[in-house]
Symmetry: C2
Subunit: 293 residues, 2 copies
Amino acid sequence: MTVTLLLEPLPADARIDDLASTFREVPADAPALRVGELSTQRGDGVFETISVTDGHAQETGPHLDRLRNSAVICELPEPNLAQWRAAIAAAVALLPARGEFALKLVLSRGVEHGPAPTAWLHAAPAADFARVREQGISVVTLDRGYAHDAAAKAPWLLLGAKTLSYATNMAALREARRRGADDTIFVSSDGFVMEGPTSSVILRHGEVYSTPAPSGAILHGTTQMSLFDHLAETGRTTEYRDVRVEELSTADAVWLVSSVRLAAGVTELDGAVFPYDADETRAFNDYLLTPRD
Amino acid sequence: MTVTLLLEPLPADARIDDLASTFREVPADAPALRVGELSTQRGDGVFETISVTDGHAQETGPHLDRLRNSAVICELPEPNLAQWRAAIAAAVALLPARGEFALKLVLSRGVEHGPAPTAWLHAAPAADFARVREQGISVVTLDRGYAHDAAAKAPWLLLGAKTLSYATNMAALREARRRGADDTIFVSSDGFVMEGPTSSVILRHGEVYSTPAPSGAILHGTTQMSLFDHLAETGRTTEYRDVRVEELSTADAVWLVSSVRLAAGVTELDGAVFPYDADETRAFNDYLLTPRD
């Protein structure tokens, strides 16, 4: 069960009454993109992945805000968020009422020399992460090659944008598996914790939850933000700050959180057993599986 | 006038008599790729751009060697080079006998969870670079964020592979234009000359031509190698070595060389007028426009 909708290019401020007329469904197994697409030739575009849980698209607002922010960083035309909201709602309506789905939004620079960007969304069943959420993951740290302040000095590195140029992220996941691990935490060349290739990192020291400050070198994680809101609302202390790599080993618990897999607790770090809080991980995922906006 | 051929997945060592039956032409303006393509979702694939000059595909062998090397680095199935050669020949036969064309080869990891990679080539008229070849380019240096030995320490950065994840390269070109320049030379975070976003750097000090050693952090440039072969054959001294950023300012001439634009002499560097050798640049391009294998 998949749903693919192609969106017609629309200026960010266009007000259209019949937004449903600006996108159309295409068969998932049929070709929909031209080879001149800059998304495919250059990884030149931005994306978001939203979880659709039992018929509810999670955190649509934060995802669309980040899509727009990524577009601004990449100097793409700003997306029309009303159109995206309508397309997301249409896709959700076509999906089964139960179950978890991954809904990917893509905004590409379009066909080379073309007049307009290309945009589409694609929803497919999520992998079954029940076991991972329950039992946790083994993680290795890998050098991301950049200093943690690289983004401020070199914005053309696009580090704060969720671009389609993810070949390195995918290679890092392959390297993790080669080392017998499930996932990786990127560390900066100057010794700071950054993020996972497709996730944010949350540490707990005592009663304090921290995550690397989104200085531009890492993405502001929608799931991490949602969880921090929840923690703050329930009286816990959260903080954004620079986190040294050594602090991973002194943490009482570490999680990688992302939109579709949700909270995965670290059970092993760089080959050593790591303290894993099964109860808190379960509580995190219970919260993350509720409808959130 | 464009030509697009889709190649059927073929193991590297498959020996097929009728190779022409393993690829087919598709209309350039028709959709040919599925939205599940990892090339478009993740920039997950590798490519080459070959110049076709008056009916001759330049340096096909070195380009295919590099395509294979990129595939190995990215753990993609090795391409069947006989099939690619046959497809390139078929595309060239469909192009006009005169003029310059850019022929792009793409090898993608294929559709997500799909059984096989996707491969295609696409030929289109090259931009008219006559003026640039004659009058040169203004260039700014931009920080690439990595140390020059990053690739050796972190192969998952894929720095030696020509991947489809080129969003940063494209952003660097936009930054150069924002600064009033035509192109950029990437420099490492520790002060070494690397490469252009789509070109190699050649410096001349006196009678010696040098280019940054392809240590894995930069691509081995096919046009640079071809030009160095030519220089060596005509009695000039060439060398691969680490090049400090300061050496740019002491050079007697600097060129950015690439497959389609060919040799572009630097006339301005970071806002200052730079020595430009029009005669030697013309000689380089005269050579580069001859049929080369």
